[in-house]
Amino acid sequence: MNTIYKREMSSFFKSPIAYVVIAVYLFVFGYFSMSYNFAGGSVYIGTTLQTMTSILPIIIPIITMKLIADEKRNGTEVLLRTSPISMWEVVLGKFFAAYTLFVIMNAATLIHVFLMAAYAPLPIAETIGAYLGYMLQGLLFVAVGIFASSLTESQIIAAIVGVVILFSTTGLYSIGSLIGGWLGNAIMWISPLTKYAEFANGILNFASVVFYVSFAAIMLLVTESNMERKRWN
């Protein structure tokens, strides 16, 4: 797993994509942070992060699109499959590499938090909760991105599939609130955004943690079995 992880990490930083993605991400983050927190005078970083959630469905698939699709196109999938490592090691290595990039991206956004802390007392619980929830949500998004990458040989298709899945899950929140009633509530419950709102309010709901982690695990499980199944056809 470590071998795959290291290779993917170095591969990320050898291609311009990682830098471009990080730059775009930080720019957008800066824009929202500027308008909500600095110009808007809010001390809650959670508002900014929640807005960022609506562009994550584009950012994450760009990071994850090549992870498995490219191995197939390159012919290097043969290498991984004929080496004495399991598909799990491959999937997890790639997953953690992409997630590390996500962590790095967000570590850079902490500058905004520190800047705010210099001018105003911060709501500690809400800030930590907002970031914790955001990172947990990233776990799920990255897992979905990897799953999309395992479906095809084409990076572009992998990216599009990832974007569509992620947008539709985040979109469930709006759909649920439109419908209302028990059905609306049920739909909203599935949406990762609902869970996120709790974290942003500084509530550490164990059920939400389980929700993100278990859904991410399911996505990885499906990815792994999808790759194993492909081998049999």
């Binding site: 470590n2 071998t3 290291k6 290779r7 170095s10 591969s11 050898k14 291609s15 390159n74 012919g75 290097t76 999938e77 043969v78 290498l79 991984l80 499959r81 004929t82 080496s83 004495p84 490592i85 081998r231 049999w232 056809n233």
Partner: protein, 317 residues
């Protein structure tokens, strides 16, 4: 070392491999021959654990690929049809990555990798990005990859494709040298390659074994001493008289007059080479030999014959 029994592979309704049986002994270099689409790559993909078989068993050093895939994979170095290289890595980084994948111990690893790079002659390309290397070099990096971890078995799918003639000779020499310590399966459709490096041959066609045996079986038909045409500068009748006296020739047949020369076809008796005797007899009578051409079958003809036979049999069906 490698035992393949009743190996069958179906892709949906298409039968890619049909009841393949063969074994490769330790230290043997097996030439795996067949036209395009015969199932060479499929067999190799199953053997190395990339594809599962539909039925049948593949054992490497006693381990079954389905039951003990990890053990088998540790013992095999595989060079697939397309060298499995990452363009964004340098040759050195790539081989280190492979060494990690194959759990090569850190101790002494650097010397081992340097030795491999020296063997396949890519030492000077260590710091180059694989993306920028030519096809021939990529092929060699792929071969280097297969050698990492010193596996007992090497499975090479058309290792000389894309190389220039000098490189082809180098790689063949290398394979012959590796054959002293490794068991090698080499797929190719270049027949000289089999003649040059292999000790035994398996020919497959349409997913079935068409012929198999030690190279010498195939070479017996191909050494050409049993049958040859000889062109002699001299009169037909005189030549005839002289040739008829040659004891080791079983049959002398007049073919044609070619200007002032006569052409004969001579067949030697079983296990005898009549060429020397023919030369002496003709020389004594001042009949110079202008040309002596063997007309035995070579591996190529055996191959084409087998492939052709199978195809005509199939159209008849």
């Amino acid at each position: 070392m490698i035992e393949i029994q009743h190996l069958t592979k179906k892709f949906g309704n298409i039968v890619a491999l049909n009841d393949l049986n063969f074994t490769v002994k330790k230290g043997e270099i097996l030439g795996f021959l067949g036209p395009n689409g015969a199932g060479k790559s499929t067999t190799m993909n199953i053997l190395t654990g990339y594809l599962p078989s539909t039925s049948g068993t593949v054992k490497v050093d006693g381990f079954d690929i389905m039951e003990n895939p990890k053990e088998v994979k540790k013992k095999i170095g595989y060079l697939p049809e397309l060298p499995p290289v990452y363009g964004d890595m340098t040759v050195g980084e790539y081989l280190t990555f492979i060494a990690n994948l194959k759990n090569v111990p850190l101790k002494g690893r650097k010397t081992k990798l340097d030795d491999i790079m020296y063997l396949v002659k890519i030492g000077d390309k260590k710091g180059r990005l694989i993306r920028n290397l030519s096809k021939g070099y990529r092929q060699r990096v792929g071969l280097a990859q297969a050698l990492v971890g010193n596996p007992q078995v090497l499975v090479l799918d058309e290792p000389t494709v894309g190389l220039d003639p000098k490189q082809i000779l180098d790689i063949r020499k290398l394979i012959t040298a590796l054959g002293r310590e490794h068991t090698i399966i080499l797929s190719t459709h270049i027949l000289q390659e089999v003649n040059a490096v292999c000790s035994s041959v398996v020919m497959i066609n349409n997913g079935k074994i068409a012929a198999q045996g030690p190279l010498s079986d195939f070479a017996a038909a191909s050494n050409g001493v049993s049958k040859y045409n000889v062109t002699i500068a001299g009169d037909k009748t005189l030549c005839r008289e002289t040739l008829d006296k040659v004891g080791s020739a079983s049959r002398v047949e007049f073919i044609r007059i070619d200007g002032d020369n006569s052409v004969f076809r001579i067949e030697s008796k079983q296990n005898e080479d009549s060429r020397k005797e023919v030369f002496r007899a003709l020389a004594e009578n001042d009949l110079p030999i202008l040309e002596l051409r063997p007309i035995g079958k070579n591996l190529e003809e055996v191959f084409i014959e087998i492939v052709g036979r199978d195809q005509s049999a199939e159209t008849e069906e």
